[in-house]
Amino acid sequence: MDSTTQVSAILILLLTLVVNVLFSRRRRQPFGLRSIPAFALLTPTIGAAIEANHPLHLSYGSSALGGENTVLALASSELFYQVARQAAIGDTTPILTTSAPSTLPLAQDTLRRAYQSRGLLNRYHYSSARWYPAGPRSLAFAAALTSMLRDDDVHASVLVGGFGSELALIAEAAARRDQTLIAASDQPEGQAIAYVLADEALIGEEMFAAGAYLDENPRASANAAVSDVLRWLLVLALVVATLSAGNQAFAQLLGELLARLQGGG
């Protein structure tokens, strides 16, 4: 790793830490949470599943602990925890699926914690967290899920994790059975398909905001505020970089400004 990357990584981490600490200490966040239709749809969907006495299906896709998308697996877990916690009062346990075996213990623990938080641990069953092998192109996983949606008479699916184009098969099976689908993926192909085929889709960093929208603790909304602040800073940095790349005079002005900040002129 070269020194520029090291310094940039340290700066980004420090900035994130500072903004996070600043916002976590505030009781009221300066920005309200913007409306995200997928989160708005979740609560009535969970209620309808409980009424219909059919299970909800939650899936990590290929998000794996120990892989590149470890943090995504943790973020999906937070979302699934909130959904399972709300669904725990129903008679049927939500089904958690994954194609990454390393995520299976996380899935089991997520369900266990959700039921424990409601004092209903006796209703939790280990087989509600399931591993389906992915195969070379994740299509075997998609085939297994399409079959599971029918066999377990699923009411709705929440697919948030690593999904590619195979998401189209799952979404089509859900649509055929008139099951609600909320989906999101960290892969552009999966994200595009989620936008087109799902009833509602979470886009980009919205996947990481479940705590802010579904947790009863108001401090959880600090994360969404941190994300918004950092996103605007990133947009600003991109605009400045684009302007300096396309405009010689602006680049010179920026260089002089940086030199003055460093005490050079």
Binding site: M1, L13, E78, A175, M207
Partner: protein
């Protein structure tokens, strides 16, 4: 404030290992103590993930045995899966122990041939269905509600599909070809990068939350 040791220990382990690994990765292969520790931790992760694979197989078998003996819907598929598992496992064991006649040199093992003829061909057939699922999706989206986003998607889909046909020489349309190239290299590429940047940003925030002990997975 009462602090539960059972909740504190996982947080302490996650924070400690996370910080050491982060420092080691930032130090970047300089052979220091942090670098050696990072390599060791990553090796432990690889071994743990390999062990999790066994856990996954056990889970798969238990779920399908439960379905079979509980005579639930789809029990027949569970039976097929269990029989396939036993067959594949037996074949692999016989190959390793020399229980099968030796294959001529250069030929692939039987288990690999079985995998390629069954799984790969079925997966290829499923991949062929993807395009129909997408077209159905476009129809469903426009039937549900006609939005500017939906119309834009349909226009982009038609441009890409017609452009692909033109690129294969079925008909000539240089304007369509250049528009398709511009579409995939400018707006599509920019959109994908925007999505990935947003995800990367959120990943950094979530990672920092784990490092400062705010993540729920380690708190309860």
């Amino acid at each position: 404030m009462r602090v539960r040791f059972g909740a504190l220990l996982p947080s302490a382990i996650a924070i400690g290992f996370g910080l050491l690994t982060l420092i080691g990765l930032l130090a970047g292969g300089d052979g220091s103590l942090f670098d050696l520790l990072t390599t060791l931790f990553l090796q432990i992760v690889v071994i743990t993930v390999a062990l999790a694979f066994l856990l996954g197989i056990l889970n798969l078998l238990l779920v399908h045995l439960g379905r079979l003996f509980g005579r639930k819907r789809g029990a027949l598929y569970s039976l097929v899966l269990l029989l396939s598992f036993v067959l594949a496992l037996t074949l692999a064991i016989l190959e390793r122990t020399g229980g099968l006649p030796a294959r001529p040199a250069g030929e692939r093992p039987l288990s690999m041939i079985l995998l390629e003829t069954v799984q790969v061909s079925i997966e290829s057939a499923l991949a062929g269905l993807l395009v129909f699922a997408l077209v159905y999706g476009a129809y469903r989206m426009l039937r549900r509600r006609v939005t500017w986003g939906g119309l834009l998607f349909l226009a982009a889909l038609l441009t890409v599909l017609l452009g692909e046909i033109a690129a294969r020489g079925v008909f000539e349309s240089p304007l369509l070809l250049s528009f398709r190239t511009w579409l995939s290299s400018v707006p599509v590429s920019a959109g994908a990068r925007g999505l990935l940047l947003g995800i990367a940003l959120a990943t950094v925030i979530a990672g920092v939350r784990v490092l400062i002990g705010q993540d729920r997975s380690y708190r309860e």
